[in-house]
Symmetry: C2
């Protein structure tokens, strides 16, 4: 059994000064925009064809398939996001569009449940023969997740029925005593676990476990598979076992390696299964992998997967700010992983990372106009270098409108629309506030209770909860996450200071609650000068600024060019002032006196270059690149 | 006319505490070793086959051609180095080996003068059709240089005759009114200018000028050439015009771009031609390109060509220490360029760079055992990263025994054996000491004079010259380079302080010289803390140490791992102490108190990590990697 379960989306109503406008943006702008992108109606954007491919497979169109072997998954993630958005705010047009697409998917599906437009249309003779490269299980997983979400949001069965048929096909094909295999890109595992929880069908859990436990065993499946076929799709090297995490059985894996999204989707499923089945060995593996990521391989923004080569984890402490990858999808995946770890054991460190990703590494993936997206999230952008020089081609300095491989944009959509799922948790004895998401949530514990949260988080550390027990009063504990960044927290109940029981990063308030009881938190929220472990050579001699969970950055538009020529004296006073920034809105801006080194014509000099005092401004990292194009830097020379 | 000419090698005798042992190493170890490598007799080394290819072409062997399309050039550079070495020290075995190889070259040459084993053996139908990629003119250039050197060293004509035949073929084929073309890899231009000076044949100079002036004119030749053939060798993109410096006519080029060795060989020829023909426009182009390299694109070690992509110059100020290329050949080429600039105009800045390359960027290319060589010369080496991670595969942390593309090792050999050529210069009115090379040189000016130089340079700034006019006395100026790094210089003649006329980085002593007159220089030689221009983001917040012309570095073997965790306080006292280091010998080691930051388990912390005082040691950069493998860093966090 899980230690606690996060509260389902339909039990949560979000009314948050920070997130509600963003959710509104996603619902009103991003999702319709992404529907247009998926229908190839956005001028100047990369072609998608994702919906047209289903029309062709359904016999409604005579065009040719276009796109990646995993093109279906972009549509799946959009559908999943639409499902969540309908919980936030009913929208007949979006729901109608979704229903149409779902009907199309149903008609494109083959009679045995097979569903993948690439193979249906392009290589029907090659189905299931190249799990290593061809993403059939991955696409099925995303469609299953979407179907589960759509059922939860609308109560409609048709999508779920379609995807149960696909899931049944997969479960009947793969497993012990059946055909051997596991996916090149993990995703089906976590999807089958969600489907298991919705349907109660044991086979889904068993197949998820099979895919996880078979992975990386000898003889390694991909190396066997490649011998059986005379064709390849991406020509991946099956000897590169770390790339797809098949270098060892998952329970024995020590470090996060290879493709960061594949890895983290897998860890998510591992943690989910471990909690679901109380599997201690798997739990230990999850903890080990989590620790390796968080303490060795994560950017301060939550970015993971440091290298473009294989979109992969690099080695411990190798975290270049400019050559970086830090795919938006990988940060999204880290939120999934964090939520599953939290469900396994309530510890503040998991909620800390969840929060870090939400306010930084994920949000930076989307322009605040909702129409442009980053795949790669750099911590240093240099004009003329980023996106230009061969080594830096992947580090785009401006968010593009769409991608040929468009995994990230709909991943952001589905995360932002399902934010409510990451905020609250409960078990038999009490309620957890993992993040300070404004709004209301309903819980079953204590005979039913509703809790309201009001705050101006993340800009202000004052948070107020109001408790509404269904029966007017109720005994349960209310546990609130104490953010790792917070040095002082004070808690009061109905205006009187209390000393909560602090455990594992949570403040537990256990009492009899009455209607209208209030809990006030005051989180000390100073600007913090952050330093990287001395083993992180990329950040040596540098400081980064945070305030609460928000990482700040220095943009050229505020500070002039050559950001590496700026210095932040250790003792400088940093002022926080709310400002209205164009395309961003009102945010606290950090202002401080710094220095700018003045260069001469010489490249090297036997004394330090002179400097002049300058006033420097830092803005929240997630908002970078929303004003004028130019340099950006998170880690500043101290 | 040239402003001055550097003095020919056979007029110079080297007796220098620093260089003589290295020349001995090259003569006694490196050249025989390289002969073995060229004959594929070194176990564990990359195959060369360079000599065997000539045997096959001469009909002496039935093997198959092996190697690059420019494999001949490795042998050419070795022969050139052997020629210089015979001036340093006669060696019957080496000379015999060279004579044999030269005879082989003669027999491999075709009757019309054509000489290139790749095309003779592999693609005779494709001769001269792919100048862009196929290095026929490049190989011819290196063979011509070798032949000129061999004639100078031995007086023997056969090699020169062979190569004049090849040069005549080239001159008869290419030019205005003849076949259009220019080389993909420049080298023939500077070689033809050398051959012109040896033979006085105007056609050689004219063809060199043709190749230079035709280059980059419209319609661009490589783009035309590629249309004429249905095959390619390296599949270079003819649209990438900067790669081979055909983006503009050479006289209009503004910045150093593209492949660094190609570029710098070309600039060398441009400067040579400009001085030879008093071509003001070409001279201005050379100055512009020189300034761009030296003030925008050069590592503190003299390394040039910052990126592996195209082995090329990057953009201004983009000088990564770890991703670096800085090919040894490019530093060698920079010495050629510097010498030609010095001949064009006597300015200390040229001699400074010449010196910088010799004591740092070139010498680092060779293990001090004479049997291993670097192609790439990093300023930061990180275990587990350099040579390992995909982006860093080219940055080897240890010098290999040989290379499949072995341009660098024989380039170091030919430079170290011809050191004497870079030390001295003269014109009608006087004598120049460009570097402080110990030994003796003979000059024609002032009716003939011999000058001895004694010093312990670069470790000591005391240099003594003794003047021996042939007739017992003579009027001429003696101009000594004042190194750019030197803040105070005192000069005395026969023990009495004098105030020389200082001009453009040289101290001019004009007087009547008598037999046995001595000139003593005292160059103040303190350890200098060097800082990079604030526009160089790679070095932001860092300091590098130099003493005299020698750049220092910090190795893991002296200082422990995680060199980025070390700090050099700005005020720390740096002690110079001579030490005997294994595999390196006696060198001044820099010792100082510094700090080592102590890391914890966390990746980020809201206060600076603690540090502890440590004693740090820096050793000369050129000697790095000669003891134990491990990390190395030139730029240290201050």
């Amino acid at each position: 059994m899980k230690n606690q379960r996060t509260v389902a989306l339909n039990q949560v109503s979000v009314k948050d000064g920070f997130w509600s406008p963003l959710q509104k943006l996603v619902v009103e702008t991003v999702l319709p925009y992404q529907a247009d992108a998926l229908e190839d109606r956005v001028e100047g954007a990369e072609k998608s064809h994702a919906i047209e491919n289903f029309r062709i497979a359904a016999g409604d169109s005579k065009e040719d398939f276009y796109g990646m072997v995993f093109q279906d998954s972009d549509l799946a993630k959009w559908l999943e996001a639409v499902a969540y958005s309908l919980i936030i705010k009913p929208n007949t047009a979006l729901e109608q569009k979704a229903d149409e697409v779902i009907a199309l998917i149903g008609r494109a599906q083959e009679s045995d449940g097979y569903l993948n437009t690439y193979f249906i249309l392009k290589e029907p003779e090659h189905k299931w023969q190249n799990l290593q490269e061809c993403h059939e299980l991955y696409c099925a997983g995303h469609m299953i997740e979407a179907a589960v979400a759509y059922k939860e949001a609308t109560g409609k069965d048709s999508f779920l029925n379609i995807m149960c048929k696909t899931a049944d096909l997969i479960c009947s094909r793969f497993g012990k005593g059946k055909v051997r295999g596991y996916p090149g890109h993990q995703e089906i595992e976590l999807a089958l676990l969600r489907l298991y929880r919705m349907t109660g069908k044991q086979e889904y859990l068993d197949t998820a476990r099979y895919f996880l436990d078979e992975r990386g065993t000898e003889p390694e499946y991909f190396q066997e598979e490649v011998k059986q076929r005379e064709w390849a799709h991406f020509h991946l090297d099956p000897e590169d076992r770390k790339y797809a995490q098949v270098h060892a059985p998952v329970r024995q894996q020590e470090k996060a390696v290879g493709h960061a999204v594949r890895a983290t989707y897998m860890y998510t499923a591992m943690a989910d299964l471990a909690a679901e089945t109380e599997d201690q060995e798997l739990r230990e593996a999850c903890r080990r992998l989590w620790n390796n990521i968080v303490n060795r391989q994560m950017y301060i923004t939550g970015g993971i997967g440091a290298t473009v080569h294989g979109e992969a984890f690099s080695i411990d402490y190798e975290l270049p700010n400019d050559l970086i990858y830090a795919e938006t999808c990988a940060s999204v995946a880290m939120v999934f992983f964090a939520r599953r770890m939290l469900e396994m054991e309530v510890k503040g460190e998991y909620a800390d990372i969840l929060e870090k990703e939400l306010y930084n590494g994920i949000l930076s993936g989307m322009q605040l106009n909702g129409r442009q997206f980053f795949y790669v999230n750099p911590l240093e952008v240099v004009p003329g270098v980023s996106g230009v020089l061969p080594e830096y081609k992947h580090v785009l300095p401006e968010r593009p409108k769409w991608y040929g491989c468009a995994c990230c944009p709909p991943n952001v959509s589905r995360l932002l629309t399902s934010l409510g799922e990451y905020a609250w948790g409960e078990n038999r004895d009490g309620v957890f506030a993992h993040t300070f998401l404004g709004g209301t949530a309903s819980f079953q514990c204590g005979g039913g209770v509703q809790i309201d949260c009001k705050s101006a988080y993340p800009w202000n550390g004052a948070i107020q909860y109001t408790i509404h027990p269904s029966g007017g009063q109720s005994d349960f504990f209310f546990a609130v996450h104490i953010p790792g960044w917070c040095k002082n927290i004070s808690v009061s109940v109905n205006g009187e200071a209390v000393q909560p029981n602090k455990k594992d990063g949570y403040a537990y308030l256990e009492r009899q609650w009455h209607e209208g009881d209030t809990v006030d938190l005051k989180l000390e929220m100073e600007v913090q000068r952050m330093y990287a472990n001395p083993k992180v050579r990329a950040d040596a001699g540098c400081v980064a600024l945070m305030r609460g969970p928000v990482v700040y950055c220095f943009e050229e538009t505020d500070n002039g060019g050559d950001l590496a020529a700026l210095r932040i004296p250790r003792e400088t006073k940093i002022t926080v002032r709310e400002e209205e920034l164009s395309n961003i809105g009102k945010v606290p801006v950090l202002t401080m006196e710094g220095l700018r080194l003045k260069g001469g014509d010489a490249l090297y000099c036997d004394k330090p270059f002179e400097s002049k005092p300058v006033t420097l401004r830092a803005v929240p990292y997630y908002a970078w690149g929303n004003r004028k194009p130019g340099g950006m830097r998170v880690w500043m020379v101290e």
